[in-house]
Protein backbone atom coordinates (compact mmCIF):
# COMPACT_ATOMS: atom_id res chain seq x y z
CA UNK A 1 0.00 0.00 0.00
CA UNK A 2 1.48 3.22 -1.12
CA UNK A 3 0.59 6.84 -0.77
CA UNK A 4 1.37 8.95 -3.81
CA UNK A 5 2.01 12.63 -3.57
CA UNK A 6 2.38 14.81 -6.64
CA UNK A 7 3.73 18.27 -5.95
CA UNK A 8 3.79 21.16 -8.41
CA UNK A 9 4.45 18.74 -11.25
CA UNK A 10 5.17 20.45 -14.57
CA UNK A 11 5.99 19.14 -18.03
CA UNK A 12 7.05 21.55 -20.73
CA UNK A 13 7.94 20.23 -24.18
CA UNK A 14 9.11 23.66 -25.16
CA UNK A 15 5.82 25.07 -26.43
CA UNK A 16 4.31 26.03 -23.11
CA UNK A 17 3.52 23.61 -20.30
CA UNK A 18 1.55 20.46 -21.19
CA UNK A 19 1.15 19.88 -17.47
CA UNK A 20 1.19 23.04 -15.41
CA UNK A 21 2.19 22.80 -11.77
CA UNK A 22 -0.35 20.24 -10.61
CA UNK A 23 -0.52 18.84 -7.08
CA UNK A 24 -2.47 15.75 -6.06
CA UNK A 25 -2.32 13.70 -2.89
CA UNK A 26 -3.44 10.12 -3.41
CA UNK A 27 -4.19 8.11 -0.29
CA UNK A 28 -3.21 4.48 0.24
CA UNK A 29 -5.53 2.20 -1.68
CA UNK A 30 -7.38 5.08 -3.28
CA UNK A 31 -8.74 4.85 -6.81
CA UNK A 32 -8.24 8.17 -8.51
CA UNK A 33 -9.14 9.13 -12.08
CA UNK A 34 -7.54 11.77 -14.22
CA UNK A 35 -10.39 12.98 -16.40
CA UNK A 36 -10.28 15.46 -19.24
CA UNK A 37 -10.44 15.93 -23.00
CA UNK A 38 -7.51 14.84 -25.16
CA UNK A 39 -4.54 17.14 -24.78
CA UNK A 40 -5.45 18.14 -21.23
CA UNK A 41 -2.26 16.60 -19.83
CA UNK A 42 -3.76 13.58 -18.12
CA UNK A 43 -1.73 11.02 -20.07
CA UNK A 44 1.45 13.08 -19.70
CA UNK A 45 0.85 13.13 -15.95
CA UNK A 46 0.43 9.37 -15.90
CA UNK A 47 3.61 8.93 -17.95
CA UNK A 48 5.50 11.08 -15.47
CA UNK A 49 4.20 8.99 -12.57
CA UNK A 50 5.28 5.86 -14.45
CA UNK A 51 8.62 7.36 -15.42
CA UNK A 52 8.19 7.33 -19.21
CA UNK A 53 8.40 11.12 -19.24
CA UNK A 54 10.79 13.26 -17.26
CA UNK A 55 9.21 15.96 -15.17
CA UNK A 56 10.34 19.47 -16.04
CA UNK A 57 9.67 20.53 -12.48
CA UNK A 58 8.06 19.24 -9.33
CA UNK A 59 8.11 16.09 -7.27
CA UNK A 60 6.41 12.71 -7.34
CA UNK A 61 6.62 10.86 -4.04
CA UNK A 62 5.78 7.24 -3.36
CA UNK A 63 5.40 7.00 0.44
CA UNK A 64 7.40 10.17 0.83
CA UNK A 65 10.26 9.11 -1.42
CA UNK A 66 10.83 11.29 -4.49
CA UNK A 67 10.96 9.05 -7.58
CA UNK A 68 11.33 11.78 -10.20
CA UNK A 69 14.85 10.70 -11.09
CA UNK A 70 14.19 6.97 -10.78
CA UNK A 71 14.04 4.99 -14.04
CA UNK A 72 10.77 3.26 -14.94
CA UNK A 73 11.99 -0.23 -14.11
CA UNK A 74 12.94 0.74 -10.56
CA UNK A 75 9.64 2.41 -9.66
CA UNK A 76 7.76 -0.81 -9.03
CA UNK A 77 4.61 0.15 -10.87
CA UNK A 78 2.02 -1.96 -12.63
CA UNK A 79 0.78 -0.42 -15.84
CA UNK A 80 -2.08 -1.28 -18.17
CA UNK A 81 -1.88 0.26 -21.62
CA UNK A 82 -4.70 1.35 -23.90
CA UNK A 83 -3.82 -1.30 -26.50
CA UNK A 84 -2.92 -3.79 -23.72
CA UNK A 85 0.68 -4.11 -25.02
CA UNK A 86 0.77 -7.86 -24.46
CA UNK A 87 3.94 -9.45 -25.82
CA UNK A 88 2.71 -11.17 -28.98
CA UNK A 89 5.56 -13.68 -29.06
CA UNK A 90 4.84 -14.96 -25.57
CA UNK A 91 2.01 -17.10 -24.23
CA UNK A 92 -0.24 -15.74 -21.50
CA UNK A 93 1.89 -17.58 -18.95
CA UNK A 94 5.14 -16.07 -20.29
CA UNK A 95 3.57 -12.63 -20.37
CA UNK A 96 2.61 -12.97 -16.72
CA UNK A 97 5.98 -14.45 -15.76
CA UNK A 98 7.95 -11.61 -17.36
CA UNK A 99 7.75 -9.14 -14.49
CA UNK A 100 8.41 -11.85 -11.90
CA UNK A 101 11.47 -13.07 -13.83
CA UNK A 102 12.78 -9.51 -13.81
CA UNK A 103 12.43 -9.62 -10.02
CA UNK A 104 14.27 -12.96 -9.87
CA UNK A 105 11.29 -14.65 -8.24
CA UNK A 106 11.86 -18.41 -7.75
CA UNK A 107 10.24 -20.64 -10.39
CA UNK A 108 7.81 -22.35 -7.99
CA UNK A 109 6.58 -19.05 -6.69
CA UNK A 110 6.15 -17.73 -10.23
CA UNK A 111 3.94 -20.70 -10.98
CA UNK A 112 1.75 -20.31 -7.92
CA UNK A 113 1.40 -16.57 -8.35
CA UNK A 114 0.42 -16.92 -12.01
CA UNK A 115 -2.18 -19.52 -11.09
CA UNK A 116 -3.54 -17.20 -8.42
CA UNK A 117 -3.73 -14.13 -10.65
CA UNK A 118 -5.28 -16.11 -13.54
CA UNK A 119 -7.96 -17.23 -11.14
CA UNK A 120 -8.45 -13.63 -10.04
CA UNK A 121 -9.07 -12.45 -13.63
CA UNK A 122 -11.07 -15.60 -14.43
CA UNK A 123 -8.70 -16.89 -17.11
CA UNK A 124 -7.60 -20.18 -15.59
CA UNK A 125 -6.87 -22.58 -18.43
CA UNK A 126 -5.70 -19.88 -20.84
CA UNK A 127 -2.03 -19.91 -19.86
CA UNK A 128 -0.80 -21.59 -23.05
CA UNK A 129 -2.65 -19.24 -25.42
CA UNK A 130 -0.92 -16.55 -27.43
CA UNK A 131 -2.41 -13.04 -27.18
CA UNK A 132 -3.75 -13.19 -30.75
CA UNK A 133 -5.85 -16.19 -29.73
CA UNK A 134 -7.72 -14.14 -27.12
CA UNK A 135 -10.66 -11.77 -27.43
CA UNK A 136 -10.27 -8.08 -26.63
CA UNK A 137 -11.80 -8.50 -23.19
CA UNK A 138 -9.58 -11.46 -22.39
CA UNK A 139 -6.48 -9.57 -23.54
CA UNK A 140 -7.56 -6.74 -21.29
CA UNK A 141 -7.76 -9.06 -18.32
CA UNK A 142 -4.35 -10.58 -19.10
CA UNK A 143 -2.90 -7.06 -19.21
CA UNK A 144 -4.47 -6.37 -15.84
CA UNK A 145 -3.15 -9.66 -14.44
CA UNK A 146 0.33 -8.93 -15.79
CA UNK A 147 0.36 -5.57 -14.03
CA UNK A 148 -0.96 -7.01 -10.74
CA UNK A 149 1.03 -10.24 -10.53
CA UNK A 150 4.19 -8.34 -9.65
CA UNK A 151 2.34 -6.83 -6.67
CA UNK A 152 3.41 -3.30 -7.54
CA UNK A 153 3.25 -0.26 -5.32
CA UNK A 154 0.74 1.46 -7.56
CA UNK A 155 -1.43 0.51 -10.50
CA UNK A 156 -1.56 2.87 -13.49
CA UNK A 157 -4.19 2.48 -16.19
CA UNK A 158 -4.12 4.45 -19.43
CA UNK A 159 -7.60 4.44 -21.02
CA UNK A 160 -7.73 0.66 -20.68
CA UNK A 161 -11.32 0.31 -21.83
CA UNK A 162 -11.19 2.58 -24.88
CA UNK A 163 -10.85 -0.31 -27.34
CA UNK A 164 -13.70 -2.43 -25.99
CA UNK A 165 -17.30 -2.41 -27.17
CA UNK A 166 -19.89 -0.66 -25.01
CA UNK A 167 -21.29 -3.68 -23.20
CA UNK A 168 -17.91 -5.16 -22.36
CA UNK A 169 -16.71 -1.75 -21.26
CA UNK A 170 -19.41 -1.56 -18.63
CA UNK A 171 -18.63 -5.07 -17.41
CA UNK A 172 -14.94 -4.28 -17.19
CA UNK A 173 -15.60 -1.10 -15.19
CA UNK A 174 -17.18 -3.16 -12.45
CA UNK A 175 -14.58 -5.89 -12.81
CA UNK A 176 -11.61 -3.53 -12.48
CA UNK A 177 -13.18 -1.64 -9.59
CA UNK A 178 -13.96 -4.85 -7.67
CA UNK A 179 -10.49 -6.21 -8.31
CA UNK A 180 -8.88 -2.96 -7.18
CA UNK A 181 -10.92 -2.98 -3.96
CA UNK A 182 -9.99 -6.60 -3.26
CA UNK A 183 -6.29 -6.02 -3.85
CA UNK A 184 -6.38 -2.65 -2.14
CA UNK A 185 -3.83 -1.13 -4.47
CA UNK A 186 -3.40 2.61 -4.96
CA UNK A 187 -4.64 3.24 -8.49
CA UNK A 188 -4.42 6.07 -11.01
CA UNK A 189 -6.81 5.75 -13.92
CA UNK A 190 -6.66 7.96 -17.00
CA UNK A 191 -9.79 8.41 -19.07
CA UNK A 192 -11.68 10.90 -21.19
CA UNK A 193 -14.93 9.08 -20.46
CA UNK A 194 -16.72 10.83 -17.60
CA UNK A 195 -19.02 7.87 -16.94
CA UNK A 196 -15.99 5.64 -16.35
CA UNK A 197 -14.38 8.14 -14.05
CA UNK A 198 -17.61 8.67 -12.10
CA UNK A 199 -18.52 5.03 -11.60
CA UNK A 200 -15.06 3.73 -10.73
CA UNK A 201 -13.25 6.37 -8.73
CA UNK A 202 -13.00 7.39 -5.12
CA UNK A 203 -12.00 10.80 -6.37
CA UNK A 204 -11.83 12.40 -9.79
CA UNK A 205 -9.25 14.92 -10.96
CA UNK A 206 -10.70 16.99 -13.80
CA UNK A 207 -8.01 18.52 -15.99
CA UNK A 208 -8.15 21.17 -18.71
CA UNK A 209 -5.19 22.64 -20.56
CA UNK A 210 -2.57 21.13 -18.28
CA UNK A 211 -4.19 22.42 -15.09
CA UNK A 212 -6.42 20.83 -12.50
CA UNK A 213 -9.91 22.30 -12.74
CA UNK A 214 -11.30 20.35 -9.79
CA UNK A 215 -10.48 17.46 -7.50
CA UNK A 216 -13.33 15.79 -5.71
CA UNK A 217 -15.57 12.81 -5.22
CA UNK A 218 -17.77 11.91 -8.20
CA UNK A 219 -20.73 13.63 -6.54
CA UNK A 220 -18.66 16.76 -5.83
CA UNK A 221 -17.71 16.93 -9.47
CA UNK A 222 -21.23 16.30 -10.71
CA UNK A 223 -23.33 18.24 -8.26
CA UNK A 224 -20.91 20.98 -7.26
CA UNK A 225 -18.75 21.63 -10.35
CA UNK A 226 -16.02 24.22 -9.82
CA UNK A 227 -16.75 26.06 -13.04
CA UNK A 228 -18.64 26.05 -16.31
CA UNK A 229 -16.04 23.89 -18.08
CA UNK A 230 -16.26 21.13 -15.48
CA UNK A 231 -20.05 21.32 -15.41
CA UNK A 232 -20.25 20.94 -19.18
CA UNK A 233 -17.61 18.21 -19.41
CA UNK A 234 -19.16 15.96 -16.80
CA UNK A 235 -22.61 14.94 -17.90
CA UNK A 236 -25.31 17.11 -19.42
CA UNK A 237 -26.10 20.44 -17.91
CA UNK A 238 -28.46 23.37 -18.37
CA UNK A 239 -26.94 26.76 -17.80
CA UNK A 240 -29.60 29.03 -16.32
CA UNK A 241 -28.81 32.72 -16.21
CA UNK A 242 -30.28 35.28 -13.88
CA UNK A 243 -29.67 38.55 -12.09
CA UNK A 244 -28.68 38.53 -8.43
CA UNK A 245 -30.65 40.65 -6.09
CA UNK A 246 -30.82 40.33 -2.33
CA UNK A 247 -29.23 36.82 -2.23
CA UNK A 248 -31.75 35.59 -4.79
CA UNK A 249 -31.31 34.95 -8.49
CA UNK A 250 -34.32 35.61 -10.62
CA UNK A 251 -34.48 33.00 -13.39
CA UNK A 252 -36.98 31.55 -15.81
CA UNK A 253 -37.73 28.99 -13.07
CA UNK A 254 -38.52 31.69 -10.61
CA UNK A 255 -36.41 33.05 -7.80
CA UNK A 256 -33.57 30.82 -6.64
CA UNK A 257 -31.83 31.62 -3.37
CA UNK A 258 -28.04 31.41 -3.56
CA UNK A 259 -25.49 31.24 -0.83
CA UNK A 260 -22.14 32.88 -1.44
CA UNK A 261 -20.88 36.32 -2.07
CA UNK A 262 -22.46 37.67 -5.22
CA UNK A 263 -22.89 41.36 -5.79
CA UNK A 264 -26.41 42.59 -6.37
CA UNK A 265 -27.10 43.19 -10.03
CA UNK A 266 -24.50 40.71 -11.26
CA UNK A 267 -25.55 38.23 -13.92
CA UNK A 268 -25.01 34.73 -12.55
CA UNK A 269 -24.83 31.31 -14.24
CA UNK A 270 -26.47 28.41 -12.47
CA UNK A 271 -25.89 24.77 -13.35
CA UNK A 272 -29.00 22.63 -13.43
CA UNK A 273 -28.75 18.93 -14.28
CA UNK A 274 -31.50 17.61 -16.59
CA UNK A 275 -32.66 14.95 -14.14
CA UNK A 276 -33.04 17.53 -11.35
CA UNK A 277 -36.03 19.03 -13.12
CA UNK A 278 -39.51 17.71 -12.45
CA UNK A 279 -42.08 17.70 -15.23
CA UNK A 280 -45.75 17.99 -14.31
CA UNK A 281 -49.00 18.21 -16.22
CA UNK A 282 -50.48 21.72 -16.39
CA UNK A 283 -53.67 20.64 -14.66
CA UNK A 284 -51.85 19.00 -11.72
CA UNK A 285 -52.31 22.09 -9.57
CA UNK A 286 -48.62 22.11 -8.70
CA UNK A 287 -46.54 25.26 -8.78
CA UNK A 288 -43.90 25.66 -11.44
CA UNK A 289 -42.93 27.58 -14.51
CA UNK A 290 -44.87 26.76 -17.62
CA UNK A 291 -43.04 25.36 -20.62
CA UNK A 292 -43.66 23.78 -23.99
CA UNK A 293 -42.24 20.44 -25.15
CA UNK A 294 -40.11 21.01 -28.24
CA UNK A 295 -38.99 17.43 -28.75
CA UNK A 296 -38.50 14.21 -26.84
CA UNK A 297 -36.22 11.19 -27.12
CA UNK A 298 -37.26 7.91 -25.60
CA UNK A 299 -34.47 5.50 -24.66
CA UNK A 300 -36.29 2.83 -22.67
CA UNK A 301 -35.50 3.58 -19.07
CA UNK A 302 -35.44 7.35 -19.59
CA UNK A 303 -36.97 10.09 -21.70
CA UNK A 304 -35.07 13.22 -22.69
CA UNK A 305 -37.16 16.31 -23.36
CA UNK A 306 -36.25 19.63 -24.86
CA UNK A 307 -38.42 22.34 -23.40
CA UNK A 308 -38.91 25.99 -24.03
CA UNK A 309 -39.65 28.19 -21.04
CA UNK A 310 -41.28 31.56 -21.06
CA UNK A 311 -38.78 34.08 -22.33
CA UNK A 312 -37.27 31.60 -24.77
CA UNK A 313 -34.96 29.73 -22.35
CA UNK A 314 -34.43 26.17 -23.65
CA UNK A 315 -33.72 23.44 -21.11
CA UNK A 316 -33.06 19.72 -21.36
CA UNK A 317 -34.93 17.54 -18.92
CA UNK A 318 -34.49 13.87 -18.23
CA UNK A 319 -37.26 11.89 -16.56
CA UNK A 320 -38.47 8.36 -16.05
CA UNK A 321 -41.13 7.59 -18.62
CA UNK A 322 -43.92 7.25 -16.06
CA UNK A 323 -45.87 10.16 -17.44
CA UNK A 324 -45.19 10.83 -21.11
CA UNK A 325 -45.65 14.14 -22.83
CA UNK A 326 -45.99 14.69 -26.54
CA UNK A 327 -44.20 17.30 -28.62
CA UNK A 328 -46.08 20.59 -28.37
CA UNK A 329 -47.63 19.80 -24.96
CA UNK A 330 -47.78 22.52 -22.35
CA UNK A 331 -46.21 21.38 -19.06
CA UNK A 332 -45.10 22.70 -15.72
CA UNK A 333 -41.44 22.50 -14.75
CA UNK A 334 -40.12 22.61 -11.25
CA UNK A 335 -36.63 22.23 -9.79
CA UNK A 336 -35.74 22.27 -6.08
CA UNK A 337 -33.71 25.33 -5.15
CA UNK A 338 -30.80 23.22 -3.87
CA UNK A 339 -30.31 21.65 -7.31
CA UNK A 340 -29.20 24.97 -8.80
CA UNK A 341 -25.44 25.32 -8.43
CA UNK A 342 -23.85 28.74 -8.96
CA UNK A 343 -20.94 28.70 -11.41
CA UNK A 344 -19.98 32.32 -11.07
CA UNK A 345 -20.65 35.47 -12.97
CA UNK A 346 -21.55 35.28 -16.62
CA UNK A 347 -18.89 36.77 -18.85
Amino acid sequence: MTEVSIEKLTKDYGQGPAVNSISIKIAEGEFISLLGPSGCGKTTTLKMIAGFEDATEGAIRFDGRDVVHMPVEKRDIGMVFQNYALFPHMTVEKNLAFGLEMRKTPKDEIRTRIAKVLDMVQLTGYSERYPRQLSGGQQQRVALARALVIEPKILLLDEPLANLDAKLREEMRVFIRDLQRRVGITTVYVTHDQAEAMTMSDRVVVMFGGRIAQIGTPSDIYERPANLEVAEFVGQVNIIRGKVGNRVVSTAFGDVPVSGDFADGAELMLALRPEAVELLPVNSGATGASAKVLSSYYSGSLVDYRLELAGGTVVNVQTFPRTRFADGDEVLVHAPADRFWPLGSAA
Binding site: A50, G51, F52, P71, V72, E73, D76, I77, G78, M79, F81, Q82, N83, A85, L86, F87, P88, H89, M90, F98, G99, M102, R103, Y130, R132, R146, A147, I150, L156
Partner: protein
Amino acid sequence: MNASAKKRIGPLLLIAPAAILLGVFLVLPYLNIVVMSFRMPGQGTPYGPGFTFGNYGKFFSDFFYVQQVINTLWIGFLTTFICLVLGYPVAWQLARGASAFRAFGYALVLSPLLVGIVIRSYGWTILLGNNGIINRTLTGWGLIDGPLPLMYNALGIIIALVHVFLPFMILPIMSAIQGIDPSLESAARSLGASKVTSFRRITLPLSLPGIQAGCILVFVLSLSAYVTPSLIGGLRVKTMAVTVVDALIDTFQWPFGSALALMLSVTGAIVVVIFGRLTVMKWKA
Protein backbone atom coordinates in the same frame (compact mmCIF):
# COMPACT_ATOMS: atom_id res chain seq x y z
CA MET B 1 -19.59 -18.06 -66.71
CA ASN B 2 -21.13 -17.92 -63.23
CA ALA B 3 -20.18 -15.43 -60.52
CA SER B 4 -18.06 -17.75 -58.39
CA ALA B 5 -15.99 -18.84 -61.37
CA LYS B 6 -15.47 -15.18 -62.22
CA LYS B 7 -14.33 -14.56 -58.66
CA ARG B 8 -11.72 -17.26 -58.96
CA ILE B 9 -10.48 -16.10 -62.35
CA GLY B 10 -10.04 -12.46 -61.30
CA PRO B 11 -7.00 -13.00 -59.06
CA LEU B 12 -5.53 -15.46 -61.56
CA LEU B 13 -5.65 -12.80 -64.26
CA LEU B 14 -3.85 -10.40 -61.98
CA ILE B 15 -0.95 -12.73 -61.28
CA ALA B 16 -0.80 -13.95 -64.89
CA PRO B 17 1.77 -11.41 -66.18
CA ALA B 18 4.23 -12.18 -63.39
CA ALA B 19 3.54 -15.91 -63.68
CA ILE B 20 4.17 -15.88 -67.43
CA LEU B 21 7.35 -13.86 -67.00
CA LEU B 22 8.67 -16.28 -64.39
CA GLY B 23 7.54 -19.31 -66.38
CA VAL B 24 9.12 -18.29 -69.65
CA PHE B 25 12.28 -16.71 -68.33
CA LEU B 26 12.98 -18.70 -65.17
CA VAL B 27 11.29 -22.09 -65.09
CA LEU B 28 11.88 -23.00 -68.73
CA PRO B 29 15.58 -22.01 -68.70
CA TYR B 30 15.98 -23.90 -65.42
CA LEU B 31 14.49 -27.02 -66.97
CA ASN B 32 16.84 -26.51 -69.89
CA ILE B 33 19.78 -26.34 -67.46
CA VAL B 34 18.63 -29.55 -65.76
CA VAL B 35 18.48 -31.34 -69.12
CA MET B 36 21.81 -29.82 -70.19
CA SER B 37 23.51 -31.04 -67.01
CA PHE B 38 22.85 -34.62 -68.09
CA ARG B 39 24.21 -34.22 -71.67
CA MET B 40 27.50 -35.63 -72.90
CA PRO B 41 30.42 -33.20 -73.11
CA GLY B 42 31.08 -32.19 -76.72
CA GLN B 43 34.21 -32.04 -78.84
CA GLY B 44 34.41 -28.51 -80.23
CA THR B 45 30.67 -28.16 -79.68
CA PRO B 46 28.86 -27.04 -76.50
CA TYR B 47 27.60 -30.58 -75.92
CA GLY B 48 27.61 -34.03 -77.53
CA PRO B 49 24.88 -36.57 -78.31
CA GLY B 50 23.37 -38.74 -75.58
CA PHE B 51 22.98 -38.40 -71.81
CA THR B 52 25.17 -39.20 -68.79
CA PHE B 53 25.55 -38.75 -65.02
CA GLY B 54 29.23 -38.07 -65.64
CA ASN B 55 29.01 -34.31 -65.06
CA TYR B 56 27.83 -34.90 -61.50
CA GLY B 57 30.41 -37.65 -61.09
CA LYS B 58 33.10 -35.19 -62.02
CA PHE B 59 31.79 -32.68 -59.50
CA PHE B 60 31.74 -35.11 -56.59
CA SER B 61 35.01 -36.89 -57.46
CA ASP B 62 37.04 -33.71 -57.72
CA PHE B 63 37.42 -32.20 -54.27
CA PHE B 64 38.36 -28.92 -55.92
CA TYR B 65 34.73 -28.26 -56.82
CA VAL B 66 33.30 -29.39 -53.48
CA GLN B 67 35.83 -27.15 -51.76
CA GLN B 68 34.66 -24.31 -53.95
CA VAL B 69 31.06 -24.81 -52.93
CA ILE B 70 32.18 -24.77 -49.30
CA ASN B 71 34.19 -21.57 -49.89
CA THR B 72 31.23 -19.94 -51.58
CA LEU B 73 28.94 -20.91 -48.72
CA TRP B 74 31.46 -19.50 -46.24
CA ILE B 75 31.66 -16.22 -48.08
CA GLY B 76 27.85 -16.18 -48.08
CA PHE B 77 27.64 -16.91 -44.35
CA LEU B 78 30.21 -14.30 -43.40
CA THR B 79 28.74 -11.65 -45.68
CA THR B 80 25.29 -12.33 -44.20
CA PHE B 81 26.54 -12.29 -40.64
CA ILE B 82 28.52 -9.05 -41.07
CA CYS B 83 25.56 -7.42 -42.83
CA LEU B 84 23.35 -8.43 -39.90
CA VAL B 85 25.73 -7.07 -37.28
CA LEU B 86 26.34 -3.83 -39.16
CA GLY B 87 22.81 -3.43 -40.46
CA TYR B 88 20.70 -4.04 -37.35
CA PRO B 89 21.67 -0.86 -35.48
CA VAL B 90 21.13 1.17 -38.66
CA ALA B 91 17.73 -0.43 -39.19
CA TRP B 92 16.83 0.34 -35.59
CA GLN B 93 17.91 3.96 -35.97
CA LEU B 94 15.90 4.33 -39.16
CA ALA B 95 12.83 2.77 -37.56
CA ARG B 96 12.96 4.48 -34.16
CA GLY B 97 15.43 7.35 -34.43
CA ALA B 98 14.75 11.05 -34.85
CA SER B 99 12.80 11.80 -37.99
CA ALA B 100 15.29 14.47 -39.09
CA PHE B 101 17.89 11.77 -39.50
CA ARG B 102 15.57 9.38 -41.28
CA ALA B 103 15.48 10.83 -44.82
CA PHE B 104 19.23 11.31 -44.82
CA GLY B 105 19.79 7.84 -43.38
CA TYR B 106 17.50 6.33 -45.98
CA ALA B 107 19.48 7.96 -48.80
CA LEU B 108 22.74 6.72 -47.28
CA VAL B 109 21.43 3.18 -46.97
CA LEU B 110 20.26 3.07 -50.57
CA SER B 111 23.37 4.80 -51.96
CA PRO B 112 25.31 1.58 -52.77
CA LEU B 113 22.48 0.57 -55.09
CA LEU B 114 22.64 3.81 -57.05
CA VAL B 115 26.01 3.00 -58.60
CA GLY B 116 26.38 0.31 -61.25
CA ILE B 117 27.84 -2.93 -60.02
CA VAL B 118 30.88 -2.91 -62.33
CA ILE B 119 31.83 0.65 -61.43
CA ARG B 120 31.40 -0.11 -57.76
CA SER B 121 33.58 -3.20 -57.94
CA TYR B 122 36.32 -1.34 -59.81
CA GLY B 123 36.05 1.31 -57.14
CA TRP B 124 36.85 -1.31 -54.53
CA THR B 125 39.89 -2.47 -56.52
CA ILE B 126 41.21 1.10 -56.37
CA LEU B 127 40.73 1.16 -52.62
CA LEU B 128 41.81 -2.37 -51.74
CA GLY B 129 44.62 -3.12 -54.22
CA ASN B 130 48.25 -3.58 -53.13
CA ASN B 131 48.93 -0.21 -54.66
CA GLY B 132 45.50 1.04 -53.62
CA ILE B 133 44.54 3.98 -51.49
CA ILE B 134 44.23 2.10 -48.20
CA ASN B 135 47.56 0.31 -48.45
CA ARG B 136 49.41 3.40 -49.67
CA THR B 137 47.97 5.55 -46.89
CA LEU B 138 48.81 3.05 -44.19
CA THR B 139 52.33 2.59 -45.60
CA GLY B 140 52.72 6.34 -45.86
CA TRP B 141 51.82 6.76 -42.21
CA GLY B 142 54.34 4.07 -41.38
CA LEU B 143 51.71 1.85 -39.82
CA ILE B 144 52.55 -1.13 -42.04
CA ASP B 145 55.73 -2.28 -43.82
CA GLY B 146 54.24 -4.00 -46.82
CA PRO B 147 50.79 -3.95 -48.41
CA LEU B 148 48.03 -5.79 -46.54
CA PRO B 149 46.42 -8.53 -48.62
CA LEU B 150 43.01 -6.89 -49.07
CA MET B 151 42.32 -8.02 -52.61
CA TYR B 152 42.41 -11.27 -54.52
CA ASN B 153 41.17 -13.05 -51.41
CA ALA B 154 37.93 -13.82 -49.61
CA LEU B 155 38.35 -10.77 -47.37
CA GLY B 156 38.15 -8.36 -50.29
CA ILE B 157 35.15 -10.16 -51.74
CA ILE B 158 33.35 -10.08 -48.40
CA ILE B 159 34.08 -6.37 -47.89
CA ALA B 160 32.69 -5.51 -51.30
CA LEU B 161 29.66 -7.81 -50.99
CA VAL B 162 28.76 -6.43 -47.55
CA HIS B 163 28.86 -2.96 -49.05
CA VAL B 164 26.40 -3.81 -51.81
CA PHE B 165 24.06 -6.06 -49.89
CA LEU B 166 23.74 -4.07 -46.68
CA PRO B 167 20.51 -2.36 -47.88
CA PHE B 168 18.91 -5.78 -48.42
CA MET B 169 19.54 -6.54 -44.75
CA ILE B 170 18.62 -3.11 -43.39
CA LEU B 171 15.30 -2.57 -45.18
CA PRO B 172 13.45 -5.72 -44.06
CA ILE B 173 14.71 -5.37 -40.49
CA MET B 174 13.73 -1.71 -40.48
CA SER B 175 10.21 -2.51 -41.60
CA ALA B 176 9.96 -5.30 -39.00
CA ILE B 177 11.01 -2.93 -36.22
CA GLN B 178 8.59 -0.28 -37.46
CA GLY B 179 5.86 -2.88 -37.11
CA ILE B 180 6.60 -3.40 -33.41
CA ASP B 181 4.31 -1.41 -31.14
CA PRO B 182 6.61 0.86 -29.06
CA SER B 183 4.31 0.41 -26.08
CA LEU B 184 5.57 -3.20 -25.84
CA GLU B 185 8.97 -1.86 -24.82
CA SER B 186 7.26 0.51 -22.38
CA ALA B 187 5.35 -2.43 -20.94
CA ALA B 188 8.56 -4.39 -20.49
CA ARG B 189 10.16 -1.41 -18.75
CA SER B 190 7.14 -1.02 -16.46
CA LEU B 191 7.53 -4.68 -15.48
CA GLY B 192 11.09 -4.07 -14.35
CA ALA B 193 13.19 -4.71 -17.47
CA SER B 194 16.11 -2.41 -18.21
CA LYS B 195 16.41 -0.92 -21.69
CA VAL B 196 18.89 -3.63 -22.66
CA THR B 197 16.73 -6.46 -21.31
CA SER B 198 13.65 -5.05 -22.96
CA PHE B 199 15.51 -4.98 -26.28
CA ARG B 200 16.78 -8.52 -25.85
CA ARG B 201 13.50 -10.04 -24.69
CA ILE B 202 11.01 -7.99 -26.73
CA THR B 203 12.33 -5.98 -29.67
CA LEU B 204 14.92 -8.46 -30.90
CA PRO B 205 12.65 -11.52 -31.00
CA LEU B 206 9.84 -9.51 -32.55
CA SER B 207 12.15 -8.26 -35.32
CA LEU B 208 13.07 -11.85 -36.16
CA PRO B 209 10.84 -11.93 -39.27
CA GLY B 210 12.88 -9.03 -40.68
CA ILE B 211 16.16 -10.66 -39.69
CA GLN B 212 15.03 -13.86 -41.37
CA ALA B 213 14.08 -12.12 -44.60
CA GLY B 214 17.23 -10.01 -44.65
CA CYS B 215 19.51 -12.96 -44.01
CA ILE B 216 17.92 -15.08 -46.74
CA LEU B 217 18.12 -12.20 -49.24
CA VAL B 218 21.74 -11.38 -48.52
CA PHE B 219 22.81 -15.01 -48.41
CA VAL B 220 21.18 -15.89 -51.72
CA LEU B 221 22.50 -12.74 -53.37
CA SER B 222 26.01 -13.48 -52.06
CA LEU B 223 25.97 -17.02 -53.41
CA SER B 224 24.95 -15.90 -56.86
CA ALA B 225 27.10 -12.75 -57.02
CA TYR B 226 29.35 -12.80 -60.06
CA VAL B 227 30.79 -9.40 -60.97
CA THR B 228 32.16 -8.50 -57.55
CA PRO B 229 33.88 -11.85 -56.82
CA SER B 230 35.31 -12.07 -60.32
CA LEU B 231 36.80 -8.56 -60.25
CA ILE B 232 37.99 -8.56 -56.65
CA GLY B 233 38.76 -12.26 -56.23
CA GLY B 234 40.69 -12.30 -59.50
CA LEU B 235 42.17 -15.63 -60.48
CA ARG B 236 43.14 -16.67 -57.00
CA VAL B 237 39.82 -16.89 -55.16
CA LYS B 238 36.92 -18.17 -57.17
CA THR B 239 33.36 -18.51 -56.03
CA MET B 240 31.02 -21.02 -57.64
CA ALA B 241 29.33 -18.36 -59.73
CA VAL B 242 32.68 -17.45 -61.25
CA THR B 243 33.60 -21.08 -61.87
CA VAL B 244 30.24 -21.73 -63.52
CA VAL B 245 30.77 -18.88 -65.94
CA ASP B 246 34.34 -20.07 -66.58
CA ALA B 247 33.03 -23.52 -67.47
CA LEU B 248 30.30 -22.17 -69.72
CA ILE B 249 32.22 -19.45 -71.54
CA ASP B 250 35.96 -20.02 -71.21
CA THR B 251 36.12 -23.79 -71.54
CA PHE B 252 32.83 -24.13 -73.40
CA GLN B 253 31.59 -27.06 -71.27
CA TRP B 254 27.88 -26.42 -71.18
CA PRO B 255 26.82 -29.72 -69.58
CA PHE B 256 29.41 -29.55 -66.77
CA GLY B 257 28.76 -25.84 -66.20
CA SER B 258 25.06 -26.62 -65.89
CA ALA B 259 25.76 -29.36 -63.34
CA LEU B 260 27.90 -26.92 -61.33
CA ALA B 261 25.20 -24.26 -61.48
CA LEU B 262 22.59 -26.73 -60.22
CA MET B 263 24.81 -27.92 -57.38
CA LEU B 264 25.18 -24.31 -56.26
CA SER B 265 21.40 -23.73 -56.41
CA VAL B 266 20.64 -26.95 -54.55
CA THR B 267 23.12 -26.32 -51.72
CA GLY B 268 21.89 -22.75 -51.42
CA ALA B 269 18.28 -23.91 -51.29
CA ILE B 270 19.11 -26.52 -48.64
CA VAL B 271 20.79 -23.90 -46.45
CA VAL B 272 17.81 -21.55 -46.82
CA VAL B 273 15.33 -24.29 -45.92
CA ILE B 274 17.34 -25.33 -42.86
CA PHE B 275 17.63 -21.69 -41.81
CA GLY B 276 13.88 -21.25 -42.23
CA ARG B 277 13.22 -24.31 -40.08
CA LEU B 278 15.57 -23.11 -37.36
CA THR B 279 13.99 -19.68 -37.19
CA VAL B 280 10.37 -20.76 -37.34
CA MET B 281 8.16 -18.46 -35.24
CA LYS B 282 5.45 -20.30 -33.39
CA TRP B 283 3.71 -17.16 -32.22
CA LYS B 284 2.94 -16.03 -35.74
CA ALA B 285 -0.34 -17.17 -37.16
